[in-house]
Protein backbone atom coordinates (compact mmCIF):
# COMPACT_ATOMS: atom_id res chain seq x y z
CA UNK A 1 0.00 0.00 0.00
CA UNK A 2 1.04 3.56 -0.57
CA UNK A 3 2.94 5.42 2.11
CA UNK A 4 -0.11 7.27 3.29
CA UNK A 5 1.44 8.77 6.37
CA UNK A 6 4.15 10.71 4.59
CA UNK A 7 3.55 14.44 4.20
CA UNK A 8 2.22 15.43 0.81
CA UNK A 9 4.81 16.27 -1.79
CA UNK A 10 4.72 19.85 -3.07
CA UNK A 11 1.47 19.69 -5.01
CA UNK A 12 1.23 21.11 -8.47
CA UNK A 13 -2.42 21.96 -8.65
CA UNK A 14 -4.41 21.85 -5.45
CA UNK A 15 -4.06 18.33 -4.19
CA UNK A 16 -5.84 15.96 -1.92
CA UNK A 17 -4.47 14.10 1.02
CA UNK A 18 -5.15 10.96 -0.87
CA UNK A 19 -2.57 11.21 -3.57
CA UNK A 20 0.49 11.06 -1.42
CA UNK A 21 2.01 7.94 -2.88
CA UNK A 22 2.85 9.73 -6.09
CA UNK A 23 6.51 10.62 -5.78
CA UNK A 24 9.05 11.90 -8.25
CA UNK A 25 10.91 9.00 -9.76
CA UNK A 26 14.13 8.30 -11.58
CA UNK A 27 14.31 8.86 -15.31
CA UNK A 28 14.33 5.16 -16.18
CA UNK A 29 11.41 3.95 -14.16
CA UNK A 30 10.32 0.40 -14.94
CA UNK A 31 6.68 -0.08 -15.94
CA UNK A 32 6.20 -2.42 -12.98
CA UNK A 33 7.12 0.31 -10.52
CA UNK A 34 4.64 2.71 -12.14
CA UNK A 35 1.90 0.10 -11.94
CA UNK A 36 2.72 -0.57 -8.28
CA UNK A 37 2.54 3.13 -7.35
CA UNK A 38 -0.70 3.51 -9.28
CA UNK A 39 -2.31 0.49 -7.64
CA UNK A 40 -1.33 1.80 -4.21
CA UNK A 41 -3.08 5.10 -4.76
CA UNK A 42 -6.04 3.47 -6.48
CA UNK A 43 -6.66 0.95 -3.73
CA UNK A 44 -6.25 3.37 -0.82
CA UNK A 45 -8.57 5.96 -2.28
CA UNK A 46 -10.96 3.55 -3.94
CA UNK A 47 -11.83 2.14 -0.55
CA UNK A 48 -13.12 5.51 0.62
CA UNK A 49 -16.04 5.10 -1.77
CA UNK A 50 -17.46 3.19 1.18
CA UNK A 51 -17.71 6.45 3.13
CA UNK A 52 -19.52 8.03 0.20
CA UNK A 53 -22.03 5.18 -0.12
CA UNK A 54 -22.81 5.38 3.58
CA UNK A 55 -23.05 9.18 3.60
CA UNK A 56 -25.24 9.34 0.51
CA UNK A 57 -27.80 6.81 1.73
CA UNK A 58 -27.61 8.32 5.21
CA UNK A 59 -28.43 11.69 3.63
CA UNK A 60 -31.60 10.20 2.13
CA UNK A 61 -30.62 9.27 -1.42
CA UNK A 62 -31.60 5.90 -2.84
CA UNK A 63 -29.26 3.03 -3.69
CA UNK A 64 -29.59 3.63 -7.43
CA UNK A 65 -29.06 7.38 -7.07
CA UNK A 66 -25.98 6.83 -4.92
CA UNK A 67 -24.41 4.39 -7.38
CA UNK A 68 -25.33 6.62 -10.34
CA UNK A 69 -23.37 9.47 -8.74
CA UNK A 70 -20.22 7.39 -8.35
CA UNK A 71 -20.53 5.94 -11.86
CA UNK A 72 -21.37 9.18 -13.66
CA UNK A 73 -19.86 12.04 -11.65
CA UNK A 74 -16.76 10.22 -10.37
CA UNK A 75 -15.13 13.08 -8.50
CA UNK A 76 -15.44 12.54 -4.77
CA UNK A 77 -15.59 16.03 -3.30
CA UNK A 78 -18.35 17.08 -5.71
CA UNK A 79 -20.34 13.96 -4.87
CA UNK A 80 -20.10 14.56 -1.12
CA UNK A 81 -21.01 18.22 -1.60
CA UNK A 82 -24.06 17.35 -3.68
CA UNK A 83 -25.56 14.86 -1.23
CA UNK A 84 -24.80 17.21 1.66
CA UNK A 85 -26.58 20.09 -0.04
CA UNK A 86 -29.57 17.91 -0.97
CA UNK A 87 -29.79 16.57 2.58
CA UNK A 88 -29.85 20.14 3.89
CA UNK A 89 -32.86 20.82 1.66
CA UNK A 90 -31.11 22.72 -1.10
CA UNK A 91 -32.78 22.98 -4.50
CA UNK A 92 -31.17 20.90 -7.28
CA UNK A 93 -29.62 23.93 -8.96
CA UNK A 94 -27.76 25.40 -6.00
CA UNK A 95 -26.77 21.89 -4.92
CA UNK A 96 -25.36 21.14 -8.37
CA UNK A 97 -23.66 24.56 -8.49
CA UNK A 98 -21.64 23.77 -5.36
CA UNK A 99 -20.60 20.42 -6.81
CA UNK A 100 -19.73 22.12 -10.11
CA UNK A 101 -17.49 24.73 -8.51
CA UNK A 102 -15.65 22.02 -6.59
CA UNK A 103 -15.11 20.25 -9.91
CA UNK A 104 -13.48 23.26 -11.59
CA UNK A 105 -10.05 22.10 -10.44
CA UNK A 106 -10.42 19.07 -12.72
CA UNK A 107 -10.42 21.41 -15.73
CA UNK A 108 -6.98 22.63 -14.69
CA UNK A 109 -5.77 19.07 -14.21
CA UNK A 110 -7.01 18.27 -17.73
CA UNK A 111 -5.03 21.19 -19.06
CA UNK A 112 -1.79 19.83 -17.67
CA UNK A 113 -2.61 16.23 -18.58
CA UNK A 114 -3.42 17.03 -22.21
CA UNK A 115 0.17 18.17 -22.77
CA UNK A 116 1.65 15.36 -20.70
CA UNK A 117 -0.36 12.41 -22.03
CA UNK A 118 -0.96 13.72 -25.58
CA UNK A 119 -4.04 11.53 -25.92
CA UNK A 120 -5.40 10.98 -29.44
CA UNK A 121 -8.51 13.10 -30.02
CA UNK A 122 -10.78 10.07 -30.16
CA UNK A 123 -9.66 8.92 -26.70
CA UNK A 124 -10.09 12.28 -24.96
CA UNK A 125 -13.83 11.98 -24.26
CA UNK A 126 -13.15 8.61 -22.60
CA UNK A 127 -10.04 9.68 -20.72
CA UNK A 128 -11.78 12.83 -19.47
CA UNK A 129 -13.92 10.84 -17.06
CA UNK A 130 -10.80 9.84 -15.13
CA UNK A 131 -9.29 13.32 -14.85
CA UNK A 132 -9.32 13.74 -11.06
CA UNK A 133 -6.96 14.57 -8.18
CA UNK A 134 -5.31 11.19 -7.87
CA UNK A 135 -4.81 10.27 -11.53
CA UNK A 136 -3.30 13.72 -12.10
CA UNK A 137 -0.96 13.42 -9.14
CA UNK A 138 0.30 10.02 -10.26
CA UNK A 139 0.67 11.02 -13.92
CA UNK A 140 2.51 14.26 -13.09
CA UNK A 141 4.95 12.37 -10.88
CA UNK A 142 6.16 10.14 -13.73
CA UNK A 143 9.42 10.83 -15.57
CA UNK A 144 8.32 9.88 -19.11
CA UNK A 145 5.20 10.09 -21.28
CA UNK A 146 4.98 6.30 -21.38
CA UNK A 147 5.11 6.09 -17.56
CA UNK A 148 2.60 8.92 -17.24
CA UNK A 149 0.18 7.12 -19.56
CA UNK A 150 0.55 3.87 -17.63
CA UNK A 151 0.16 5.70 -14.32
CA UNK A 152 -2.93 7.56 -15.47
CA UNK A 153 -4.59 4.45 -16.88
CA UNK A 154 -3.84 2.06 -14.01
CA UNK A 155 -4.75 4.59 -11.31
CA UNK A 156 -7.91 5.57 -13.18
CA UNK A 157 -9.05 2.00 -13.76
CA UNK A 158 -8.29 0.81 -10.22
CA UNK A 159 -9.99 3.82 -8.69
CA UNK A 160 -13.03 3.65 -10.93
CA UNK A 161 -13.68 -0.03 -10.23
CA UNK A 162 -13.05 0.17 -6.48
CA UNK A 163 -14.78 3.53 -5.94
CA UNK A 164 -17.95 2.15 -7.51
CA UNK A 165 -17.81 -1.23 -5.78
CA UNK A 166 -17.22 0.31 -2.36
CA UNK A 167 -19.95 2.89 -2.99
CA UNK A 168 -22.37 0.00 -3.54
CA UNK A 169 -21.16 -1.82 -0.42
CA UNK A 170 -21.41 1.35 1.67
CA UNK A 171 -24.89 2.11 0.36
CA UNK A 172 -26.09 -1.43 1.08
CA UNK A 173 -24.50 -1.27 4.52
CA UNK A 174 -26.19 2.02 5.34
CA UNK A 175 -29.55 0.63 4.20
CA UNK A 176 -29.05 -2.38 6.48
CA UNK A 177 -27.99 -0.25 9.46
CA UNK A 178 -30.95 2.11 9.15
CA UNK A 179 -30.26 5.05 11.46
CA UNK A 180 -26.78 6.00 10.23
CA UNK A 181 -26.61 9.01 12.57
CA UNK A 182 -26.64 6.74 15.62
CA UNK A 183 -23.42 5.21 14.30
CA UNK A 184 -21.82 8.61 13.85
CA UNK A 185 -21.80 8.15 10.07
CA UNK A 186 -23.05 11.69 9.47
CA UNK A 187 -19.55 12.79 10.54
CA UNK A 188 -17.95 10.91 7.62
CA UNK A 189 -18.80 13.58 5.03
CA UNK A 190 -17.30 16.58 6.84
CA UNK A 191 -14.31 14.46 7.89
CA UNK A 192 -13.66 13.67 4.22
CA UNK A 193 -13.79 17.39 3.42
CA UNK A 194 -11.40 18.17 6.26
CA UNK A 195 -8.95 15.48 5.10
CA UNK A 196 -9.06 16.88 1.56
CA UNK A 197 -8.65 20.44 2.81
CA UNK A 198 -5.77 19.97 5.27
CA UNK A 199 -2.94 19.43 2.75
CA UNK A 200 -4.14 22.39 0.67
CA UNK A 201 -3.55 24.87 3.51
CA UNK A 202 0.07 25.80 2.91
CA UNK A 203 0.31 29.59 2.73
CA UNK A 204 -1.16 32.39 4.83
CA UNK A 205 -3.40 33.22 1.87
CA UNK A 206 -4.75 29.66 1.86
CA UNK A 207 -5.58 29.86 5.54
CA UNK A 208 -7.15 33.30 5.20
CA UNK A 209 -9.42 32.00 2.44
CA UNK A 210 -10.41 28.98 4.54
CA UNK A 211 -11.08 31.12 7.61
CA UNK A 212 -13.18 33.65 5.74
CA UNK A 213 -15.09 30.86 3.98
CA UNK A 214 -15.97 29.28 7.33
CA UNK A 215 -17.25 32.62 8.66
CA UNK A 216 -19.30 33.29 5.52
CA UNK A 217 -20.58 29.72 5.28
CA UNK A 218 -21.76 29.61 8.88
CA UNK A 219 -22.83 33.25 9.08
CA UNK A 220 -25.20 33.06 6.12
CA UNK A 221 -26.46 29.57 6.91
CA UNK A 222 -29.41 30.64 9.09
CA UNK A 223 -30.53 33.45 6.76
CA UNK A 224 -30.10 32.20 3.17
CA UNK A 225 -31.78 29.21 1.47
CA UNK A 226 -29.94 25.88 1.77
CA UNK A 227 -27.07 25.49 -0.69
CA UNK A 228 -26.63 29.23 -1.21
CA UNK A 229 -24.36 30.00 1.78
CA UNK A 230 -21.64 27.71 0.44
CA UNK A 231 -21.69 29.60 -2.85
CA UNK A 232 -21.37 32.88 -0.94
CA UNK A 233 -18.44 31.34 0.95
CA UNK A 234 -16.75 30.61 -2.39
CA UNK A 235 -16.39 34.38 -2.75
CA UNK A 236 -13.74 34.19 -0.02
CA UNK A 237 -11.27 33.14 -2.74
CA UNK A 238 -11.55 36.24 -4.98
CA UNK A 239 -12.05 38.48 -1.92
CA UNK A 240 -8.78 37.43 -0.29
CA UNK A 241 -6.92 37.62 -3.60
CA UNK A 242 -8.26 41.14 -4.16
CA UNK A 243 -7.34 42.30 -0.64
CA UNK A 244 -3.87 40.85 -1.01
CA UNK A 245 -3.42 42.56 -4.36
CA UNK A 246 -4.42 45.91 -2.86
CA UNK A 247 -1.98 45.50 0.00
CA UNK A 248 0.85 44.70 -2.41
CA UNK A 249 -0.05 47.74 -4.52
CA UNK A 250 0.25 50.01 -1.51
CA UNK A 251 3.78 48.84 -0.72
Amino acid sequence: MAEQSTPPAAPAAGHTARAEAAKPADAAKPDRAVVRDSLGVGVAVGLSGFAFGVTSVGAGLGLLQTCALSLLVFTGASQFALVGALAAGGNPFTAAAGAFFLGTRNAFYGLRLSQLLALPRALRPLGAHWVIDETTAVALAQPTRRAARIGFTVTGLTLYVLWNLTTLVGALGAEAVGDTDAWGLDAAGPAVFLALLAPMLRSATDRAVAGLAVVLGLGFLPVLPAGVPVLVAALAAPAVLWLRGRREDRR
Binding site: S5, T6, G14, A17, A44, S48, A51, L61, G62, Q65, L69, V73, A77, S78, P92, F93, A96, G98, A99, F100, R105, N106, A107, F108, Y109, L111, S114, Q115, R124, V131, A182, W183, G184, D186, A187, A188, P190, A191, F193, L194, A195, L197, L201, T205, D206, A210, L212, A213, V214, L216, G217, L218, L221, P222, A226, V230, A234, A236, P238, L241
Partner: protein, 105 residues
Protein backbone atom coordinates in the same frame (compact mmCIF):
# COMPACT_ATOMS: atom_id res chain seq x y z
CA UNK B 1 -36.38 13.79 -0.24
CA UNK B 2 -38.08 14.36 -3.60
CA UNK B 3 -36.85 11.74 -6.09
CA UNK B 4 -37.23 13.98 -9.15
CA UNK B 5 -35.30 16.77 -7.43
CA UNK B 6 -32.46 14.38 -6.68
CA UNK B 7 -32.32 13.04 -10.23
CA UNK B 8 -32.29 16.56 -11.65
CA UNK B 9 -29.38 17.41 -9.35
CA UNK B 10 -27.57 14.21 -10.36
CA UNK B 11 -28.09 14.99 -14.06
CA UNK B 12 -26.84 18.57 -13.73
CA UNK B 13 -23.82 17.52 -11.71
CA UNK B 14 -22.97 14.70 -14.11
CA UNK B 15 -23.03 16.96 -17.15
CA UNK B 16 -21.31 19.88 -15.42
CA UNK B 17 -18.49 17.89 -13.88
CA UNK B 18 -17.88 15.94 -17.09
CA UNK B 19 -17.70 19.09 -19.20
CA UNK B 20 -15.16 20.55 -16.76
CA UNK B 21 -12.96 17.48 -17.10
CA UNK B 22 -13.31 17.33 -20.87
CA UNK B 23 -12.87 21.07 -21.27
CA UNK B 24 -9.44 20.96 -19.67
CA UNK B 25 -8.32 18.30 -22.13
CA UNK B 26 -9.71 20.13 -25.18
CA UNK B 27 -9.06 23.86 -24.75
CA UNK B 28 -5.80 25.39 -25.99
CA UNK B 29 -3.21 25.35 -23.23
CA UNK B 30 -2.77 29.11 -22.84
CA UNK B 31 -6.48 29.85 -22.24
CA UNK B 32 -6.45 29.07 -18.56
CA UNK B 33 -2.78 29.68 -17.88
CA UNK B 34 -3.14 33.28 -16.76
CA UNK B 35 -1.68 33.64 -13.22
CA UNK B 36 -4.82 35.16 -11.73
CA UNK B 37 -7.02 32.39 -13.09
CA UNK B 38 -4.64 29.75 -11.77
CA UNK B 39 -4.53 31.35 -8.32
CA UNK B 40 -8.28 31.55 -8.19
CA UNK B 41 -8.65 27.94 -9.32
CA UNK B 42 -6.35 26.80 -6.52
CA UNK B 43 -8.14 28.86 -3.86
CA UNK B 44 -11.72 28.03 -4.88
CA UNK B 45 -11.65 24.43 -3.62
CA UNK B 46 -10.13 25.66 -0.35
CA UNK B 47 -13.02 28.07 0.22
CA UNK B 48 -15.63 25.48 -0.69
CA UNK B 49 -14.14 22.64 1.35
CA UNK B 50 -13.68 24.86 4.42
CA UNK B 51 -17.27 26.12 4.23
CA UNK B 52 -18.65 22.63 3.64
CA UNK B 53 -16.68 21.17 6.53
CA UNK B 54 -17.98 23.85 8.89
CA UNK B 55 -21.56 23.67 7.67
CA UNK B 56 -21.86 19.91 7.77
CA UNK B 57 -20.36 19.85 11.25
CA UNK B 58 -22.28 22.69 12.86
CA UNK B 59 -25.70 22.77 11.23
CA UNK B 60 -28.97 20.86 11.36
CA UNK B 61 -32.14 21.76 9.46
CA UNK B 62 -30.87 25.20 8.51
CA UNK B 63 -29.80 26.24 12.01
CA UNK B 64 -26.40 26.39 13.69
CA UNK B 65 -25.91 23.67 16.29
CA UNK B 66 -23.05 22.18 18.25
CA UNK B 67 -23.39 18.46 18.80
CA UNK B 68 -21.42 15.20 18.78
CA UNK B 69 -20.14 15.86 15.24
CA UNK B 70 -18.05 18.73 16.62
CA UNK B 71 -16.18 16.29 18.83
CA UNK B 72 -15.80 13.86 15.93
CA UNK B 73 -14.32 16.52 13.67
CA UNK B 74 -11.99 17.75 16.41
CA UNK B 75 -10.70 14.20 16.72
CA UNK B 76 -10.32 13.98 12.95
CA UNK B 77 -8.32 17.21 12.96
CA UNK B 78 -6.04 15.75 15.62
CA UNK B 79 -5.61 12.61 13.51
CA UNK B 80 -4.64 14.81 10.55
CA UNK B 81 -2.05 16.65 12.64
CA UNK B 82 -0.64 13.25 13.59
CA UNK B 83 -0.47 12.41 9.85
CA UNK B 84 -2.96 9.56 10.01
CA UNK B 85 -3.99 8.04 6.65
CA UNK B 86 -7.15 9.26 4.96
CA UNK B 87 -9.36 6.34 5.95
CA UNK B 88 -8.21 6.47 9.58
CA UNK B 89 -9.12 10.17 9.75
CA UNK B 90 -12.66 9.43 8.56
CA UNK B 91 -12.99 6.41 10.85
CA UNK B 92 -11.86 8.43 13.88
CA UNK B 93 -14.52 11.08 13.17
CA UNK B 94 -17.24 8.44 12.88
CA UNK B 95 -16.23 6.50 16.00
CA UNK B 96 -15.84 9.56 18.22
CA UNK B 97 -19.15 11.02 17.03
CA UNK B 98 -20.92 7.73 17.71
CA UNK B 99 -19.23 7.47 21.10
CA UNK B 100 -20.18 10.95 22.22
CA UNK B 101 -23.76 10.38 21.04
CA UNK B 102 -23.96 7.07 22.92
CA UNK B 103 -22.86 8.92 26.05
CA UNK B 104 -25.73 11.34 25.52
CA UNK B 105 -23.76 14.19 23.91
Amino acid sequence: MNTTTVWIAIGLTTVGCYLLKLGGLLVPADTLERPLVRRLAALLPIALLAALTAQQTFSADGALVVDARGAGLAAAALALVLRAPFLVVVAVAVVVTAGVRALGG
